[in-house]
Symmetry: C2
């Protein structure tokens, strides 16, 4: 069923008369109308004044969220090189929260003095001279149980520096950042196995493992790729680096991965590009005249990496690893010998591999090929069983394309990423066409499978896309979001740096048609990938469970400052301040110390009311905390500046919020 | 004219039958309907499925912005202790851009290595031991010409550290941060005079001027308040600290200011609280038992500060200042003697003073008094002329309340901030009532003046509010935004730290009624104040005007790297890299240096296409740039880590964006 009004120019004219019926009924004073789109004008007048088509009207009604009502879905989008995670309500496409991850963010007090957070940032910079204070978040992964999102945790990678962060969805806060000890950067993370035992981090640009130096002339011998699988300890709520391991891979540029599910559980799939092993334009070498974009695209095929994770974990557990920077790595030769790794030829320069909901197929799109290519897991297993492989130059078995391919569907130009719905359709983003293709899966999904159903234009340069629970074992359908990289002229001008554009698309009806519902500018960060979860699967805390709760440890701190025990104590040059916060005062309101003191300042927000957050801002010392109800935190610093510093509550808490202030007096040493 | 459906429970029932008329006409297949709110359902089915009232329908239609259409207004909101500025399209309430100001932000490459930006952050930390990397933005001020926004510049203060930033609205980037040399923190900035010659920064918590130490027991003698007026050089696009000055004030807590306009041009008005000079609970002093929230609210009145800015500037220009930290300050005694400063009693603990569009009146709300109090500028001038004042204990003339008050209007509990429209109405936020009051101004605005017209509930704990151009000489009316501090249960749960809630209100109709249109969660930062400008007054650049443009200097850099002149040059341990960027490669793609080298890396994005931004991410070195079309930038660092570092484009630029990469090889010193 389609609306008969598909083009704006026809619809605006047609709809005005029709809607007058509505207006006459809705408004008792419609004769008193004007053409304003505002005021108490009836719907007809607003529609006319604003030039809406019929589709605009339904889109408005499908996306508007009346005051106080909640969105049905929540999207977790990477924030790109903003380094954060964006939390967006759907279908209203409203930004509900930015979660500070790799980049300090003072509104939420993330990385502005709290000692536990300093340790997280330090752990995330392990092995580096510079402390890292940003990241390039790419691929958020919600924790899963039985292949479905369980709403408990979120993982996200930093492409720039090969790191993974763990976010606890009880309080939407980052709890851990692990630096990959063997890789410079990554791309293929994070992806989880169906019960989140493992968090997968695929590689990106080849480099000597462990951060060593090697000349590019020895690329094939000294540079390597990798995939790392991080063990997740759900009870601790942390990745356990000591139970994790990596696999050495040829120096192709590994890229996005996906975990097998149901029939393919226990296996993982990562694609790659630059199987050509281009090393970039070398001004000193007349034979090397190709820039990367040409050199890395010169061949016809790249390789999908098919990895037997279960067997690899066993090899790692049994000591079949070498040690690089203190981290266990399965050597490439071992992987070949133990039959852990196979390659499938794939159309060149793909980005991502996507496993169908039942785990039967792996979908790959070579960006320079107008088809999606569908591989059968069953056929892959049969081909492995049959044996008799070719190998690549590193000795990795390469299965024959024809033995493992199930189908190819021509979808359009620049196919990139595929997600799934509940009707047996797949959706593939088309970067060059700026469109989304809907195509049908074959058995067991649909009888009319492996064909293009329709496309919808998007604006503009779509990268990834996200469908509601669209990469789980049971996609929801209904909504899809196009993550468009360029917005060009879609929004009012805000200078040369433009927002991106998330477009919400209604995919609930079967057949060729989809409806564009909403343009959401993303004016902070450059999101790459997103996952969309039914909101009722999340059960975050409204306040911390008890007063004195330490979000870093996720338990009550018995030493947290308590009412009646506040004060300032001195032990030599070490000063400890125990402070409580409540509307609308700090206790103590005066803190008198000396220049050169080492200060440990413990704070507890003793509120237990929803939303009764207090900030703690200390001028001159670059300190700002956000203390949510019940939270305790500690800052430490040296009193390097003397003078008078009025600390205050930086989160508007009450009518007398401005009066929530105290004075830290730092007496000069010569005073 | 009002919709007859005001309550949701009545409206949902009533509207379903009515809207069926629309559906029958709109959809040729409406018999094929289901109750889904999605898919190709007609409007009636969506409205029924989503339970919309008639008001919900009109609100959806008034706020929805169809794909590709632009918002009419742009709101610039402070980002609170996030330290940034939020740019929001209206009426769609979509976040178009976050502008990095006091807090480094890597998506826009703000503060992640660029040398000019490092200088801005250093200037903003002048006189402090710690470099500041956050701020508490409170009050954005758009530049004005003749009392109207001109769309050229935006100023914003950092309450935490007494700083003002200048943003150029040609490229929406921060150009300058000035640290107030005499103050610890501020609150009353920034506000501009009607032609933006001066940017006003009022104080906040009393402190010894210049950052000196003094005991709180000598509060009355050694602590002081202040107001600073920064000279803005429009041609240079910068505040000129050398032409700026401050005024010493009694140690009351000065707060928000406003500039006189039209009839009152040349004067400024700042209110204050804690005229009681409470110094907080002192555990050592049994006489001092009042926490600040009680002590600072003990009296009946605080003082509005009425300052003859024109005369003060003349006194400063003629050397009537003392020098504090190298900054000229007019001593309090000089201000009294030269008749620069007067006090008006105001209801206690006010927050803000707001001058009416014509400049005739100053509106103040004591938060603990249910009235707004309106002072007449004409009466103030007459009272000054008449002479015979009382003084406060510092000798400042205090005018008699009855001589200067024009009217008081009872508006509700917790009045806070007032804005104006084009119908002669004023709007005052009511924190304790969680409401907005509309009240009428008297002559020359309305014949029925000085009375309450109506209120509208907001959710929840409203702080400031912003009306379309509502603090200029010619307010637009139409829209008002309530900046609500708590959102409580308005949005889906995202953990203990909740977003704030900006509520868009339709104020276009005269009379008591206003319509709530939209709830916008603010999930990043805690905005305090906002200004709303007609979008067509802004004329930002789409790309930088010429290739090689330096946004720091806002001119072409003749030394910017050019095509054909790229390369790596060495001079001892100093290495200079000249690089160009274009879709989809860096030139050079290989940079070979040695551990310990000092690296100067110059980059030019040679693109001239809208939205063709490239990022430059350098792993391990905490560097990320955003190079918009035409932009040149320089990073400098020491090569402290040896190894292989694959720099890449962090802004998705093309189908072969992943191939836009290069290798920096840092050879170890012992290698």
């Amino acid at each position: 069923m389609r609306s008969r009004f598909t083009a704006r120019q026809r619809a605006v004219v047609a709809i005005i008369g029709i809607i007058a019926l509505l207006a006459a009924a809705c408004s008792s004073d419609s004769d008193d109308s004007d053409s304003s789109a505002n005021g108490s004008a009836g719907s007809d007048e607003i529609i006319e004044a604003r030039g809406f088509s019929a589709d605009d009207v339904t889109a408005a009604l499908k996306t508007y969220q009346p005051s106080g009502t909640h969105d049905d879905y929540m999207m977790f989008a990477s924030g790109g090189h903003g380094g954060q995670v964006l939390v967006i309500g759907m279908p209203s496409m409203r930004l509900l929260r930015v979660i500070g991850v790799f980049t300090p963010e003072p509104w939420q007090g993330w990385g502005y003095g709290e000692v536990g957070q300093k340790e997280i940032f330090a752990e995330g910079s392990e092995g580096l001279e510079e402390e890292l204070t940003w990241g390039d978040t790419h691929h958020p992964a919600l924790s899963e149980t039985g292949g479905d999102y369980d709403g408990e945790f979120l993982f996200i990678n930093d492409k720039a520096n090969a790191r993974i962060a763990t976010i606890d969805l009880r309080d939407f806060e980052t709890k851990q950042i692990v630096k990959n000890p063997i890789a410079v950067n990554d791309h293929g993370g994070s992806f989880v196995t169906p019960d989140s035992e493992w968090v997968i981090e695929g590689g990106q640009y080849g480099a000597p493992l462990g951060g060593e130096y090697a000349d590019l002339d020895s690329y094939e011998s000294d540079y390597r790729g990798m995939v790392t699988v991080w063990k997740f300890d759900r009870e601790a709520g942390r990745i356990d680096p000591d139970a994790s391991f990596a696999m050495e891979l040829p120096p192709y540029w590994q890229d996005l991965c996906d975990a097998g599910k149901l029939v393919s559980e226990g296996w993982i799939f990562c694609n790659s590009f630059n199987v050509e092993m281009a090393t970039g334009l070398d001004p000193d070498d007349p034979d090397n005249t190709e820039v990367f974009e040409a050199g890395a695209s010169a061949g016809e095929n790249d390789y999908m990496h098919v990895i037997n994770l279960e067997a690899a974990a066993e090899v790692a557990a049994n000591g079949g690893t070498t040690d690089i920077n203190g981290f266990p790595v399965i050597p490439l030769d071992t992987s070949i010998q133990e039959e852990l790794l196979y390659f499938l030829p794939e159309p060149k320069s793909p980005h991502g591999v996507d496993v169908t909901p039942g785990g039967e197929y792996m979908v790959v799109s070579g960006k320079l090929d107008p088809h999606v290519t569908i591989y059968s897991f069953e056929k892959v297993m049969a081909a492995i069983e049959a044996g008799g492989f070719d190998t690549d130059e590193f000795g990795v078995p390469v299965l024959a394309f024809d033995d493992v391919v199930e189908a190819q569907v021509e979808v359009g130009l620049g196919p990139l990423h595929t997600q799934f719905d509940d009707n047996g359709y797949a959706y593939t983003s088309l970067f060059l066409d700026s469109a989304v293709a809907r195509w049908s899966l074959g058995g067991p999904y649909r009888d009319d499978g492996w064909k293009l159903e329709g496309t919808i234009e998007v604006h503009y340069n779509i990268g990834h896309l996200a469908a509601a629970e669209g990469d789980t074992v049971s996609p929801d359908g209904g909504y899809l979001v196009a993550l468009n990289k360029w917005s060009s002229e879609r929004f009012a001008k805000v200078g040369p740096l433009l927002p991106q554009n998330f477009q919400l698309i209604d995919i609930s009806e079967e057949g060729p048609d989809m409806q564009l519902l909403y343009d959401m500018p993303i004016g902070i960060g450059e999101p790459h990938y997103a996952q969309i979860i039914k909101a009722d699967k999340l059960d975050p805390w409204e306040i911390y469970p008890e007063v004195g709760f330490d979000p870093g440890k996720m338990e009550v701190d018995p030493d947290a400052p308590k009412v009646g025990e506040e004060g300032v104590t001195r032990d030599g040059n070490n000063v400890t301040i125990d402070m409580t916060l409540v509307r609308s005062h700090f206790t103590p309101e005066r803190v008198e110390i000396k220049e050169g003191d080492h200060v440990t300042w413990n704070l507890t927000n003793i509120e237990q009311s929803l939303d009764a957050t207090h900030g703690f801002s200390l001028p001159g010392y670059n300190i700002n905390l956000s203390l949510e109800p019940g939270e305790t935190a500690t800052v430490e610093f040296d009193a390097v500046d003397s003078g008078v510093f009025s600390y205050y509550c930086s989160e508007f808490c009450s009518a007398l919020h401005l009066e929530m202030v105290g004075y830290m007096l730092v007496e000069p040493q010569d005073g």
